[in-house]
């Protein structure tokens, strides 16, 4: 992999990790469509993925630095006291409950599922499925808005009719966390399914995105840190990899800032339509072998 390819993959991964469009799907599809010779399954590629994920996790930690300090304090306070008293303490426990199913499924299933569905063709099919899923989440959300008689209200008012991340139930947090396992299928977006899960649990779009990003940070960071020793194996072009990582981190930070602003009034539909279009175009290109 040369420097430009590393920068391109870094930018792609950093951007698509947080957008509800599947980073893994794009990482499988785009190099294949560009006829790049390296393989994602190559052992020398793993350290690069590790670094890219650490870049994304660092961006999320920087973005939510004050909140993470409050969450960690809240966790220890509530854990020692055996009682939740503040919103930060509740959020800390919700994140713990949401992280556990994702971590269990990740450790026991991720490698098996990824190796089963790693072809570009399958990634394109799942990308279409991801788009349908995003649109379905919004259909269900609009139904909830109609039930709450908010369908004719302005968007800001519609959003105010729904809750904050700290207020969702522990069962909903566990379900949203478990939804992350769907993202082991290349083409299904981790942030997409967790934001969608948050919407179904009655969160505002912006709050669902915030909960999704907070929930992703320990999983991405943990998975990345465990693989750090891989970086010291021989033949790793660390300079190119680090350049890609820095770009991934910057892209992830900018993406998260954009998405949090976008979801104040925006919906998942544009990303759903994008995924359907990108998946269908990719299927056509792969079929025609262009």
């Amino acid at each position: 992999m040369n420097l430009w390819q590393a920068l391109f993959i870094g930018l792609l991964q950093g951007t698509t990790e947080l957008f509800p469009v599947s980073s893994l799907g794009h990482a499988v599809l785009i190099p294949s469509l560009l006829h790049w010779s390296f393989k994602q399954s190559d052992p020398s590629f793993l350290p690069f993925l590790v670094l890219l994920h650490l870049g994304t996790a660092t961006a999320l930690l920087v973005l939510y630095r004050e909140q993470w300090v409050a969450i960690i304090r809240g966790f220890f306070a509530a854990a020692i006291r055996g009682q939740i008293r503040t919103d930060d303490e509740r959020l800390a426990m919700l994140l713990l409950v949401g992280t556990i199913p994702a971590a269990i499924l990740g450790v026991f299933l991720e490698t098996r599922i990824k190796s089963l569905f790693a072809s570009p063709f399958e990634a394109a099919v799942f990308l279409v499925a991801n788009g349908v899923l995003m649109l379905a989440f919004e259909v269900l959300r609009r139904r909830a808005e109609r039930r709450a008689a908010l369908d004719s209200a302005p968007r800001a008012e519609q959003e105010e009719g729904f809750g904050q991340a700290e207020r969702i139930s522990f069962r909903a947090a566990a379900l949203v966390g478990a939804c992350q396992a769907l993202a082991f299928l290349p083409g299904i977006s981790r942030s997409g399914v967790t934001i969608g899960g948050g919407l179904l649990a009655g969160l505002r779009h912006e709050e669902a995105a915030r909960f999704s990003f907070l929930l992703a940070t320990p999983v991405i960071l943990g998975a990345g840190l465990v693989e750090v020793p891989q970086l010291f194996s021989s033949g790793v072009p660390i300079g190119e990899y680090l350049a890609g990582t820095v770009l991934a981190g910057i892209a992830a930070y900018a993406s998260a800032r954009f998405l949090l602003r976008y979801f104040r009034s925006g919906r998942l539909d544009p990303y759903g339509w994008y995924c359907i279009a990108a998946g269908l175009v990719s299927l056509a290109l792969l079929r025609l072998n262009l």
Binding site: A79, G82, M93, I100, A103, F108, T111, R112, A223, V226
Partner: protein, 66 residues
Amino acid sequence: MKSNSLAAGFGVLGIVFLIVAALYALGVLQILTSTKTGPHYQHAILFGVLAVASFVAANFARVKAV
């Protein structure tokens, strides 16, 4: 739901998870792993987290003196 027996159950579960975490970290346990040799740190960390969660749950479940 507060109960000292539930708290004790969570406590025992936490200890079991800690032991499993140590066995994975030492490479003794090779159940549900992708390779069949060496330590499995991802599994060890997972069971460590499960142990912490169990101890936290035990503390939440125990009946507190007023």
